[in-house]
Subunit: 209 residues, 2 copies
Amino acid sequence: MGNPKQKWKSEEEEALRAGIAKHGTGKWKNIQRDPEFNPYLRSRSNIDLKDKWRNMTVSAGSQSVKDKSRTLKAKSSPDAAAVVAASTPLSNPHTSAVAAVDVVIDDSSEAAADSKTAPKYNAMIFEAISALNEPNGADTSAIISYIERRQELPQNFRRQLSSRLRRLVAQEKLEKVSCLSLLCNFFADDDIPNTSAHLVTLLNNFSLI
Amino acid sequence: MGNPKQKWKSEEEEALRAGIAKHGTGKWKNIQRDPEFNPYLRSRSNIDLKDKWRNMTVSAGSQSVKDKSRTLKAKSSPDAAAVVAASTPLSNPHTSAVAAVDVVIDDSSEAAADSKTAPKYNAMIFEAISALNEPNGADTSAIISYIERRQELPQNFRRQLSSRLRRLVAQEKLEKVSCLSLLCNFFADDDIPNTSAHLVTLLNNFSLI
DNA sequence: CTGTAGGGTTAGGGTTCA
DNA sequence: TTGAACCCTAACCCTACA
Protein backbone atom coordinates (compact mmCIF):
# COMPACT_ATOMS: atom_id res chain seq x y z
CA MET A 1 0.00 0.00 0.00
CA GLY A 2 2.36 2.67 -1.08
CA ASN A 3 1.65 4.29 -4.36
CA PRO A 4 -1.65 5.74 -5.46
CA LYS A 5 -0.35 6.01 -9.04
CA GLN A 6 -1.00 9.35 -10.58
CA LYS A 7 -2.63 9.18 -13.97
CA TRP A 8 -1.47 11.71 -16.53
CA LYS A 9 -3.89 14.53 -17.32
CA SER A 10 -4.17 15.72 -20.85
CA GLU A 11 -2.74 19.16 -19.99
CA GLU A 12 0.29 17.40 -18.61
CA GLU A 13 0.71 15.38 -21.77
CA GLU A 14 0.33 18.52 -23.80
CA ALA A 15 2.93 20.32 -21.75
CA LEU A 16 5.28 17.42 -22.21
CA ARG A 17 4.81 17.42 -25.96
CA ALA A 18 5.39 21.16 -26.10
CA GLY A 19 8.44 20.84 -23.91
CA ILE A 20 9.92 18.22 -26.19
CA ALA A 21 9.21 20.43 -29.18
CA LYS A 22 11.18 23.19 -27.51
CA HIS A 23 14.04 21.34 -25.86
CA GLY A 24 14.20 18.09 -27.73
CA THR A 25 13.85 14.59 -26.34
CA GLY A 26 16.33 13.58 -23.70
CA LYS A 27 16.27 16.97 -22.01
CA TRP A 28 13.81 15.92 -19.34
CA LYS A 29 15.25 17.97 -16.54
CA ASN A 30 15.26 21.08 -18.67
CA ILE A 31 11.68 20.59 -19.69
CA GLN A 32 10.61 20.01 -16.14
CA ARG A 33 12.43 23.14 -14.95
CA ASP A 34 11.27 25.39 -17.77
CA PRO A 35 8.91 27.98 -16.27
CA GLU A 36 6.79 27.64 -19.35
CA PHE A 37 5.93 24.03 -18.56
CA ASN A 38 6.72 23.66 -14.90
CA PRO A 39 3.26 24.82 -13.78
CA TYR A 40 1.80 21.82 -15.55
CA LEU A 41 4.54 19.38 -14.65
CA ARG A 42 5.13 20.41 -11.09
CA SER A 43 4.15 17.05 -9.71
CA ARG A 44 6.24 15.08 -12.22
CA SER A 45 9.91 14.30 -11.97
CA ASN A 46 12.28 14.38 -14.93
CA ILE A 47 12.21 10.60 -14.83
CA ASP A 48 8.44 10.58 -14.94
CA LEU A 49 8.67 12.71 -18.08
CA LYS A 50 11.03 10.28 -19.70
CA ASP A 51 8.91 7.28 -18.78
CA LYS A 52 5.73 8.94 -19.95
CA TRP A 53 7.27 9.82 -23.28
CA ARG A 54 8.40 6.25 -23.70
CA ASN A 55 4.87 5.05 -23.11
CA MET A 56 3.39 7.63 -25.44
CA THR A 57 5.67 6.78 -28.31
CA VAL A 58 5.54 3.06 -27.81
CA SER A 59 1.80 2.83 -27.96
CA ALA A 60 1.54 5.15 -30.93
CA GLY A 61 3.33 3.44 -33.82
CA SER A 62 5.14 0.21 -33.53
CA GLN A 63 6.80 -1.18 -36.58
CA SER A 64 9.46 1.46 -37.16
CA VAL A 65 13.00 0.40 -37.74
CA LYS A 66 15.66 2.96 -37.20
CA ASP A 67 19.21 2.29 -36.24
CA LYS A 68 21.44 4.36 -38.36
CA SER A 69 23.12 6.52 -35.78
CA ARG A 70 25.39 3.97 -34.22
CA THR A 71 27.90 1.93 -36.11
CA LEU A 72 29.42 0.37 -33.05
CA LYS A 73 26.59 -1.84 -31.98
CA ALA A 74 28.73 -4.81 -30.98
CA LYS A 75 26.71 -7.97 -31.07
CA SER A 76 28.79 -10.14 -28.81
CA SER A 77 27.41 -12.92 -26.70
CA PRO A 78 27.63 -15.95 -28.94
CA ASP A 79 27.12 -17.42 -25.51
CA ALA A 80 28.84 -20.29 -23.90
CA ALA A 81 25.51 -22.02 -24.23
CA ALA A 82 26.59 -23.31 -27.56
CA VAL A 83 24.94 -26.49 -26.48
CA VAL A 84 26.80 -29.50 -27.60
CA ALA A 85 24.69 -32.01 -29.33
CA ALA A 86 25.52 -34.49 -26.62
CA SER A 87 22.96 -36.43 -24.70
CA THR A 88 21.46 -38.29 -27.56
CA PRO A 89 18.72 -39.89 -25.64
CA LEU A 90 17.00 -43.09 -26.29
CA SER A 91 13.82 -41.29 -26.94
CA ASN A 92 11.92 -41.80 -23.80
CA PRO A 93 8.19 -42.23 -23.92
CA HIS A 94 6.99 -40.49 -20.86
CA THR A 95 6.71 -40.75 -17.17
CA SER A 96 3.36 -41.51 -15.76
CA ALA A 97 2.37 -39.87 -12.54
CA VAL A 98 4.07 -36.63 -13.26
CA ALA A 99 1.69 -35.62 -15.96
CA ALA A 100 0.20 -33.01 -13.72
CA VAL A 101 3.23 -30.88 -14.20
CA ASP A 102 3.78 -29.24 -17.53
CA VAL A 103 6.55 -31.61 -18.37
CA VAL A 104 6.31 -33.35 -21.65
CA ILE A 105 9.03 -35.08 -23.54
CA ASP A 106 9.66 -33.79 -26.95
CA ASP A 107 11.65 -35.08 -29.83
CA SER A 108 10.10 -34.37 -33.14
CA SER A 109 10.63 -30.98 -34.60
CA GLU A 110 8.34 -30.26 -37.44
CA ALA A 111 7.29 -26.73 -38.14
CA ALA A 112 5.14 -27.72 -41.03
CA ALA A 113 3.14 -25.06 -42.76
CA ASP A 114 0.35 -23.07 -41.19
CA SER A 115 0.59 -19.97 -39.05
CA LYS A 116 -0.20 -17.65 -41.90
CA THR A 117 -2.80 -16.04 -39.76
CA ALA A 118 -0.74 -15.80 -36.63
CA PRO A 119 1.21 -12.64 -35.89
CA LYS A 120 4.38 -12.34 -37.86
CA TYR A 121 6.65 -12.74 -34.88
CA ASN A 122 5.21 -16.02 -33.78
CA ALA A 123 5.92 -17.46 -37.18
CA MET A 124 9.46 -16.25 -36.93
CA ILE A 125 9.82 -17.84 -33.55
CA PHE A 126 8.60 -21.18 -34.82
CA GLU A 127 10.89 -20.93 -37.79
CA ALA A 128 13.85 -20.15 -35.58
CA ILE A 129 13.27 -23.00 -33.18
CA SER A 130 12.67 -25.36 -36.03
CA ALA A 131 15.76 -24.30 -37.94
CA LEU A 132 18.03 -24.33 -34.94
CA ASN A 133 16.89 -27.84 -34.39
CA GLU A 134 18.60 -28.31 -31.09
CA PRO A 135 17.88 -31.66 -29.50
CA ASN A 136 16.89 -29.99 -26.26
CA GLY A 137 15.26 -26.91 -27.59
CA ALA A 138 16.54 -23.42 -28.19
CA ASP A 139 17.18 -20.77 -25.59
CA THR A 140 16.07 -17.20 -25.84
CA SER A 141 19.38 -15.81 -27.02
CA ALA A 142 19.67 -18.38 -29.75
CA ILE A 143 16.21 -17.55 -31.00
CA ILE A 144 16.94 -13.87 -31.06
CA SER A 145 20.21 -14.15 -32.88
CA TYR A 146 18.70 -16.47 -35.43
CA ILE A 147 15.92 -14.05 -36.21
CA GLU A 148 18.25 -11.10 -36.09
CA ARG A 149 20.38 -12.64 -38.79
CA ARG A 150 17.49 -12.52 -41.18
CA GLN A 151 15.88 -9.23 -40.38
CA GLU A 152 15.85 -6.07 -38.33
CA LEU A 153 14.23 -6.31 -34.96
CA PRO A 154 12.80 -3.67 -32.71
CA GLN A 155 15.15 -2.90 -29.88
CA ASN A 156 12.78 -4.18 -27.27
CA PHE A 157 12.33 -7.48 -29.01
CA ARG A 158 13.87 -9.47 -26.23
CA ARG A 159 11.12 -8.30 -23.95
CA GLN A 160 8.47 -9.15 -26.48
CA LEU A 161 10.01 -12.50 -27.11
CA SER A 162 9.92 -13.74 -23.57
CA SER A 163 6.28 -12.85 -23.12
CA ARG A 164 5.50 -14.33 -26.50
CA LEU A 165 7.21 -17.55 -25.50
CA ARG A 166 5.31 -17.63 -22.26
CA ARG A 167 2.06 -17.19 -24.09
CA LEU A 168 2.87 -19.91 -26.58
CA VAL A 169 3.70 -22.28 -23.78
CA ALA A 170 0.43 -21.47 -22.09
CA GLN A 171 -1.33 -22.18 -25.35
CA GLU A 172 0.56 -25.44 -25.60
CA LYS A 173 1.99 -24.45 -28.91
CA LEU A 174 5.45 -24.62 -27.47
CA GLU A 175 6.85 -26.43 -24.52
CA LYS A 176 9.36 -25.42 -22.01
CA VAL A 177 12.19 -27.87 -21.64
CA SER A 178 12.94 -28.41 -18.01
CA CYS A 179 15.55 -30.40 -16.18
CA LEU A 180 13.15 -33.19 -15.54
CA SER A 181 12.52 -33.83 -19.17
CA LEU A 182 16.24 -34.01 -19.70
CA LEU A 183 16.71 -36.30 -16.77
CA CYS A 184 14.34 -38.71 -18.36
CA ASN A 185 16.64 -38.83 -21.30
CA PHE A 186 19.47 -40.18 -19.22
CA PHE A 187 17.64 -42.89 -17.41
CA ALA A 188 14.93 -45.33 -18.15
CA ASP A 189 11.74 -44.65 -16.32
CA ASP A 190 12.33 -47.46 -13.93
CA ASP A 191 15.64 -46.07 -12.85
CA ILE A 192 13.83 -43.18 -11.35
CA PRO A 193 11.42 -44.99 -9.08
CA ASN A 194 9.16 -43.14 -6.77
CA THR A 195 11.85 -40.59 -6.57
CA SER A 196 10.36 -39.18 -9.68
CA ALA A 197 7.31 -38.11 -7.79
CA HIS A 198 9.62 -36.81 -5.15
CA LEU A 199 11.59 -34.88 -7.68
CA VAL A 200 8.54 -33.35 -9.15
CA THR A 201 7.33 -32.06 -5.87
CA LEU A 202 10.65 -30.40 -5.35
CA LEU A 203 10.74 -28.72 -8.68
CA ASN A 204 9.44 -25.52 -7.22
CA ASN A 205 11.96 -24.98 -4.51
CA PHE A 206 14.33 -22.10 -4.47
CA SER A 207 17.58 -21.50 -2.72
CA LEU A 208 20.26 -18.89 -2.50
CA ILE A 209 23.11 -19.21 -4.91
CA MET B 1 22.84 12.10 -27.19
CA GLY B 2 21.55 9.71 -29.77
CA ASN B 3 23.76 6.91 -28.67
CA PRO B 4 22.00 3.66 -27.80
CA LYS B 5 24.21 3.06 -24.81
CA GLN B 6 27.02 0.62 -24.96
CA LYS B 7 26.97 -1.98 -22.27
CA TRP B 8 30.31 -3.14 -20.97
CA LYS B 9 31.42 -6.55 -22.09
CA SER B 10 33.27 -8.82 -19.76
CA GLU B 11 36.50 -8.63 -21.74
CA GLU B 12 36.38 -4.88 -21.38
CA GLU B 13 35.84 -5.12 -17.66
CA GLU B 14 38.69 -7.56 -17.44
CA ALA B 15 40.97 -5.25 -19.40
CA LEU B 16 40.02 -2.39 -17.12
CA ARG B 17 40.76 -4.43 -14.03
CA ALA B 18 44.10 -5.49 -15.45
CA GLY B 19 44.87 -1.93 -16.43
CA ILE B 20 44.20 -0.70 -12.92
CA ALA B 21 46.36 -3.44 -11.52
CA LYS B 22 49.18 -2.23 -13.72
CA HIS B 23 48.81 1.54 -13.64
CA GLY B 24 46.74 2.13 -10.53
CA THR B 25 43.38 3.80 -10.25
CA GLY B 26 43.12 7.33 -11.47
CA LYS B 27 45.42 6.75 -14.42
CA TRP B 28 42.57 6.34 -16.86
CA LYS B 29 44.23 7.89 -19.85
CA ASN B 30 47.33 5.79 -19.36
CA ILE B 31 45.29 2.64 -19.16
CA GLN B 32 43.32 3.56 -22.22
CA ARG B 33 46.48 4.27 -24.20
CA ASP B 34 48.41 1.23 -23.05
CA PRO B 35 48.83 -1.04 -26.10
CA GLU B 36 48.22 -3.97 -23.80
CA PHE B 37 44.66 -2.86 -23.07
CA ASN B 38 43.83 -0.49 -25.88
CA PRO B 39 42.57 -3.24 -28.19
CA TYR B 40 39.86 -3.99 -25.68
CA LEU B 41 39.16 -0.41 -24.69
CA ARG B 42 39.36 1.23 -28.07
CA SER B 43 35.77 2.35 -27.94
CA ARG B 44 35.98 3.70 -24.38
CA SER B 45 37.24 7.07 -23.31
CA ASN B 46 39.33 7.67 -20.21
CA ILE B 47 36.22 9.13 -18.64
CA ASP B 48 34.26 6.03 -19.48
CA LEU B 49 36.93 4.03 -17.68
CA LYS B 50 36.66 6.21 -14.63
CA ASP B 51 32.88 5.98 -14.60
CA LYS B 52 32.87 2.26 -15.08
CA TRP B 53 35.29 1.73 -12.26
CA ARG B 54 33.13 3.87 -10.04
CA ASN B 55 30.15 1.69 -10.87
CA MET B 56 32.07 -1.52 -10.37
CA THR B 57 33.34 -0.54 -6.95
CA VAL B 58 30.11 1.04 -5.81
CA SER B 59 27.89 -1.89 -6.66
CA ALA B 60 30.13 -4.23 -4.75
CA GLY B 61 29.30 -2.41 -1.56
CA SER B 62 26.13 -1.02 -0.13
CA GLN B 63 22.99 -0.32 -1.99
CA SER B 64 21.13 2.51 -0.35
CA VAL B 65 21.19 5.56 -2.50
CA LYS B 66 19.59 8.88 -1.91
CA ASP B 67 18.02 9.93 -5.15
CA LYS B 68 19.05 13.51 -5.61
CA SER B 69 18.47 13.65 -9.32
CA ARG B 70 14.76 13.75 -9.03
CA THR B 71 13.37 17.19 -8.77
CA LEU B 72 10.55 16.50 -6.45
CA LYS B 73 8.62 13.74 -4.98
CA ALA B 74 10.09 12.88 -1.66
CA LYS B 75 9.07 9.26 -1.50
CA SER B 76 10.89 8.44 1.69
CA SER B 77 12.42 5.04 1.42
CA PRO B 78 15.61 4.93 3.45
CA ASP B 79 16.51 1.52 4.81
CA ALA B 80 19.98 0.39 5.42
CA ALA B 81 21.25 -2.61 3.54
CA ALA B 82 23.62 -5.24 4.70
CA VAL B 83 25.44 -7.74 2.60
CA VAL B 84 25.17 -11.24 3.87
CA ALA B 85 27.36 -14.00 2.69
CA ALA B 86 25.25 -16.38 0.71
CA SER B 87 25.55 -19.98 1.70
CA THR B 88 25.27 -22.77 -0.78
CA PRO B 89 22.82 -25.38 0.33
CA LEU B 90 24.26 -28.01 -1.88
CA SER B 91 27.67 -28.12 -3.34
CA ASN B 92 27.13 -27.52 -6.97
CA PRO B 93 30.35 -27.58 -8.91
CA HIS B 94 29.12 -25.41 -11.70
CA THR B 95 27.86 -22.24 -10.19
CA SER B 96 31.27 -20.69 -10.37
CA ALA B 97 30.45 -18.20 -13.01
CA VAL B 98 27.80 -16.60 -10.90
CA ALA B 99 29.35 -17.20 -7.53
CA ALA B 100 30.45 -13.59 -7.38
CA VAL B 101 26.92 -12.36 -7.11
CA ASP B 102 26.14 -11.18 -3.66
CA VAL B 103 22.82 -11.49 -2.03
CA VAL B 104 21.73 -8.28 -0.46
CA ILE B 105 19.39 -8.46 2.42
CA ASP B 106 17.81 -5.54 4.12
CA ASP B 107 18.79 -5.16 7.70
CA SER B 108 15.57 -4.33 9.44
CA SER B 109 17.30 -3.65 12.72
CA GLU B 110 16.04 -0.62 14.50
CA ALA B 111 13.69 0.67 11.88
CA ALA B 112 11.81 3.42 13.64
CA ALA B 113 9.57 4.38 10.74
CA ASP B 114 9.51 0.86 9.34
CA SER B 115 6.58 -1.23 8.20
CA LYS B 116 4.24 1.12 6.42
CA THR B 117 6.85 1.92 3.82
CA ALA B 118 6.90 0.35 0.43
CA PRO B 119 7.08 -3.41 0.42
CA LYS B 120 10.51 -4.75 -0.28
CA TYR B 121 9.38 -8.15 -1.29
CA ASN B 122 12.62 -9.32 -2.79
CA ALA B 123 14.49 -8.64 0.41
CA MET B 124 11.83 -10.48 2.34
CA ILE B 125 12.15 -13.44 0.05
CA PHE B 126 15.88 -13.60 0.52
CA GLU B 127 15.49 -13.34 4.24
CA ALA B 128 12.91 -16.09 4.32
CA ILE B 129 14.93 -18.51 2.26
CA SER B 130 18.02 -17.73 4.24
CA ALA B 131 16.27 -18.20 7.58
CA LEU B 132 14.44 -21.36 6.63
CA ASN B 133 17.77 -22.82 5.66
CA GLU B 134 16.38 -25.96 4.12
CA PRO B 135 18.98 -28.23 2.56
CA ASN B 136 17.06 -28.39 -0.69
CA GLY B 137 15.73 -24.90 -0.70
CA ALA B 138 12.40 -23.57 0.40
CA ASP B 139 9.17 -24.09 -1.42
CA THR B 140 6.64 -21.42 -2.09
CA SER B 141 4.36 -22.19 0.80
CA ALA B 142 7.19 -22.23 3.28
CA ILE B 143 8.34 -18.86 2.06
CA ILE B 144 4.90 -17.40 2.34
CA SER B 145 4.23 -18.64 5.81
CA TYR B 146 7.60 -17.44 7.00
CA ILE B 147 6.98 -13.95 5.71
CA GLU B 148 3.41 -13.97 6.90
CA ARG B 149 4.59 -14.58 10.39
CA ARG B 150 6.45 -11.32 10.37
CA GLN B 151 4.13 -9.01 8.52
CA GLU B 152 0.94 -8.37 6.63
CA LEU B 153 0.79 -9.56 3.09
CA PRO B 154 -1.52 -8.68 0.26
CA GLN B 155 -3.98 -11.40 -0.55
CA ASN B 156 -2.65 -12.10 -3.97
CA PHE B 157 0.84 -12.50 -2.64
CA ARG B 158 1.16 -16.12 -3.65
CA ARG B 159 0.76 -15.16 -7.28
CA GLN B 160 3.20 -12.35 -6.95
CA LEU B 161 5.64 -14.61 -5.23
CA SER B 162 5.88 -17.18 -7.94
CA SER B 163 6.50 -14.66 -10.66
CA ARG B 164 8.98 -12.91 -8.42
CA LEU B 165 10.82 -16.15 -7.84
CA ARG B 166 10.92 -16.84 -11.52
CA ARG B 167 12.31 -13.41 -12.10
CA LEU B 168 15.01 -13.82 -9.48
CA VAL B 169 16.03 -17.12 -10.95
CA ALA B 170 16.30 -15.56 -14.36
CA GLN B 171 18.49 -12.90 -12.85
CA GLU B 172 20.61 -15.59 -11.26
CA LYS B 173 20.00 -14.14 -7.84
CA LEU B 174 18.29 -17.31 -6.78
CA GLU B 175 18.56 -20.77 -8.05
CA LYS B 176 15.80 -23.15 -8.63
CA VAL B 177 16.40 -26.45 -6.99
CA SER B 178 15.76 -28.80 -9.80
CA CYS B 179 16.19 -32.43 -10.58
CA LEU B 180 19.81 -31.71 -11.26
CA SER B 181 20.60 -30.44 -7.81
CA LEU B 182 18.81 -33.39 -6.30
CA LEU B 183 20.59 -35.73 -8.60
CA CYS B 184 23.78 -34.45 -7.06
CA ASN B 185 22.54 -35.68 -3.74
CA PHE B 186 22.09 -39.21 -5.02
CA PHE B 187 25.36 -39.46 -6.80
CA ALA B 188 28.79 -38.09 -6.28
CA ASP B 189 29.36 -34.88 -8.15
CA ASP B 190 31.82 -36.56 -10.41
CA ASP B 191 29.22 -38.94 -11.67
CA ILE B 192 27.55 -36.03 -13.34
CA PRO B 193 30.31 -34.57 -15.38
CA ASN B 194 30.02 -31.53 -17.55
CA THR B 195 26.49 -32.49 -18.28
CA SER B 196 25.51 -30.59 -15.19
CA ALA B 197 26.57 -27.33 -16.72
CA HIS B 198 24.77 -28.38 -19.81
CA LEU B 199 21.58 -29.09 -18.01
CA VAL B 200 21.65 -25.89 -16.08
CA THR B 201 21.95 -23.81 -19.15
CA LEU B 202 18.98 -25.56 -20.62
CA LEU B 203 16.51 -24.59 -17.99
CA ASN B 204 14.97 -21.89 -20.10
CA ASN B 205 14.83 -23.56 -23.43
CA PHE B 206 11.80 -23.95 -25.56
CA SER B 207 11.02 -26.51 -28.19
CA LEU B 208 8.27 -27.38 -30.56
CA ILE B 209 5.72 -29.81 -29.33
C1' DC C 1 44.92 22.59 -23.48
C1' DT C 2 45.13 17.72 -20.96
C1' DG C 3 43.16 14.91 -17.27
C1' DT C 4 40.68 13.55 -13.13
C1' DA C 5 37.14 13.76 -9.41
C1' DG C 6 32.68 13.88 -8.46
C1' DG C 7 27.86 15.45 -8.81
C1' DG C 8 24.03 15.32 -12.05
C1' DT C 9 21.15 13.27 -15.77
C1' DT C 10 19.50 9.91 -19.00
C1' DA C 11 18.43 5.23 -21.15
C1' DG C 12 16.74 1.16 -20.64
C1' DG C 13 15.49 -2.98 -18.15
C1' DG C 14 12.63 -4.31 -14.31
C1' DT C 15 8.56 -4.02 -11.19
C1' DT C 16 3.98 -2.75 -9.41
C1' DC C 17 -0.75 -1.99 -9.96
C1' DA C 18 -5.35 -1.63 -11.86
C1' DT D 1 -3.28 -10.88 -19.41
C1' DT D 2 -1.93 -6.03 -20.72
C1' DG D 3 -0.60 -1.30 -20.50
C1' DA D 4 0.56 2.71 -17.84
C1' DA D 5 2.97 4.40 -14.00
C1' DC D 6 6.86 3.92 -11.29
C1' DC D 7 11.77 2.05 -9.63
C1' DC D 8 16.75 0.79 -10.14
C1' DT D 9 21.16 1.64 -11.76
C1' DA D 10 24.74 1.33 -15.46
C1' DA D 11 26.18 4.46 -18.66
C1' DC D 12 26.87 8.89 -19.90
C1' DC D 13 27.29 14.29 -19.31
C1' DC D 14 28.78 18.50 -17.07
C1' DT D 15 31.55 21.42 -14.24
C1' DA D 16 35.29 22.53 -11.25
C1' DC D 17 39.76 22.27 -10.61
C1' DA D 18 44.42 20.92 -10.76
